[in-house]
């Protein structure tokens, strides 16, 4: 780093001495912010990769892929998130939140996506924070995901769920849409109860809208499967013809 330079040859005035100190404080703060931004970008990149891996799951590789995804998530936790947490203590968390919030949101998105694909349920904030058990901040206090970051991450989760549902239907698993539909409905109804997130008003509005769009897309997918299936009574379909046939492998 470049050390502050004095402006005159006189002995340092008390004012200057104070500002030297303030200057050091600001430098430390800005360097910390920069490190947090970088750590957050790393969390984002690695979390995105986990999400993509989940999208590659098929019936045949499901167990192995999920295991790998969990290992990868753990690696993000142990490396990038831990690095991030170690920068923070006391008031820092909310002071620098804008620097690392994007990464944490993406991590929430990844972790909840994996959990949904694995167990068909929503990973709660409490469970998520329990998984951070070993991660301590600079003051050795537990590091946690904030409610706004969790909520915004879960907001993005609906987009991934929607993709899973559509590709499920496209791949001949009409049931996929139904499970996702129930999940997104639950999320949307939960979201509807919440007051607007003051910390991220714009994101909040955008994500609420996107969420409804995703829900409508998935409901439409369910509708299509249903209407199509209703045309002929199920007994007609039995026997030699099986929907979600095997001719695509």
């Amino acid at each position: 780093g470049i050390s502050p330079v004095q402006t005159s040859s006189h002995e340092m005035s008390p004012l200057h001495a104070k500002f030297q100190e303030i200057g050091r404080e600001l430098d430390v703060m800005n360097e910390k912010r920069e490190r947090l931004v970088k750590a957050s970008r790393d969390v984002t990149i690695h979390s995105k990769k986990v999400i993509f891996a989940v999208h590659r799951i098929s019936a045949l590789n499901k167990a192995a892929t999920l295991e790998q995804a969990e290992r990868d998530l753990n690696a993000v936790r142990n490396n990038q998130v831990t690095r991030l947490a170690r920068e923070l203590q006391g008031n820092d968390y909310w002071k620098f939140r804008r620097a690392f919030s994007p990464g944490m949101q993406e991590f929430v998105e990844a972790a909840t996506t994996v959990e949904f694909v694995k167990n068909g349920r929503l990973l709660t904030l409490e469970e998520l924070n329990r998984s951070f058990f070993d991660i301590k901040d600079a003051a050795k206090q537990p590091f946690e995901v904030s409610i706004p970051d969790y909520i915004l991450g879960v907001g993005d989760l609906t987009g991934e769920l929607m993709r899973l549902a559509v590709s499920g239907v496209a791949a001949g698993q009409p049931g996929a849409a139904t499970a996702v539909c129930i999940m997104i409905r639950g999320l949307y109804e939960g979201f509807s109860m919440l007051p607007a997130l003051h910390e991220n008003l714009r994101d909040w509005r955008m994500k609420s809208d996107t969420m409804l769009q995703s829900l409508v897309k998935v409901e439409t997918a369910c509708y299509n499967v249903h209407v199509r299936g209703s045309e002929y009574p199920p007994e007609m379909l039995a026997g030699d013809f099986e929907y979600s046939g095997d001719d695509q492998s």
């Binding site: 409905r185 949307y188 109804e189 509807s192 109860m193 007051p195 409508v216 409901e219 439409t220 369910c222 509708y223 249903h226 209407v227 209703s230 045309e231």
Partner: protein, 226 residues
């Protein structure tokens, strides 16, 4: 100069205080509206008439709270005759949603449009004191229209093949009724433009059901709880 400004100060503070009181009411109204709307959402996937009825009842249970809050607004305005439109902006958005909720619930119950005066009755406001602005009422109706395509899709998924016909008839009537109005180039006109797409979407669902022979031949639409 000072005396005059002293007088201004008290007038501005008075109107500031009015705004503060209105804001407090609106903040509560916002909460009630949000929870009422959330309570109505499950109607999209209620599987039985009984379940649907319960959802509606739950939603209706918030009406007394709405009445209380609107009567507070009315009371604030009552002492300031002629200033309804001075503060109108404060309750516009919430009123759009309130009209939407009340008339959607009413339509689900009866397949009928809740009239402007019925809205006022339900909210317990007296038109000569605190009326619901007509444009706010109309925007509220546009909100139903944008909810109905989703509703129809979900009803059909749940096996209710008559619903599209009822909704299509209702929206078609509403659309023609709006066509009578000479709308300015404003929010209401923009919202009305959306109505056309909603109707189209519902007609497409009706078509899907019809072409697959899922639609019964009895033409008369019947209310849900019949």
């Amino acid at each position: 100069m000072e005396m005059q400004f002293e007088a201004f100060r008290s007038q501005l503070e008075e109107s500031g205080a009015v705004r503060e009181r209105i804001r407090a009411v609106i903040s509560e109204l916002d909460n009630v509206v949000r929870v009422m709307q959330a309570s109505l959402l499950p109607v999209h996937h209620a599987t039985t008439q009984q379940a649907a009825k319960e959802v509606l009842n739950k939603a209706k249970s918030y009406i007394p709270q709405l009445q209380k809050l609107y009567s507070q607004l009315a009371e604030i305005i009552r002492d300031r005759p002629g200033q309804y439109y001075r503060y109108h902006d404060h309750w516009r958005n919430q009123t759009h949603t309130v009209v939407f909720l009340l008339s959607f619930v009413h339509w689900l119950d009866t397949q009928l449009l809740l009239s402007h005066s019925e809205v006022e009755t339900l909210l317990g406001v007296k038109p000569e004191e605190f009326s619901i602005d007509i444009e706010d009422y109309l925007i509220g109706l546009c909100n139903i229209s944008s909810e109905l395509p989703r509703y129809v899709v979900n009803r059909v998924t749940a096996g209710d093949y008559e619903c599209p016909r009822q909704v299509s008839a209702f929206l078609s009537d509403l659309f023609s009724a709006f066509r009578i109005l000479n709308l300015r180039n404003d929010l209401l006109r923009k919202r009305f433009d959306g109505l056309k797409y909603d109707l189209k979407k519902v007609e497409e669902v009706l078509y899907d059901v019809k072409i697959r022979g899922l639609l019964s031949n009895q033409a008369a639409p019947k209310p849900m709880e019949s």
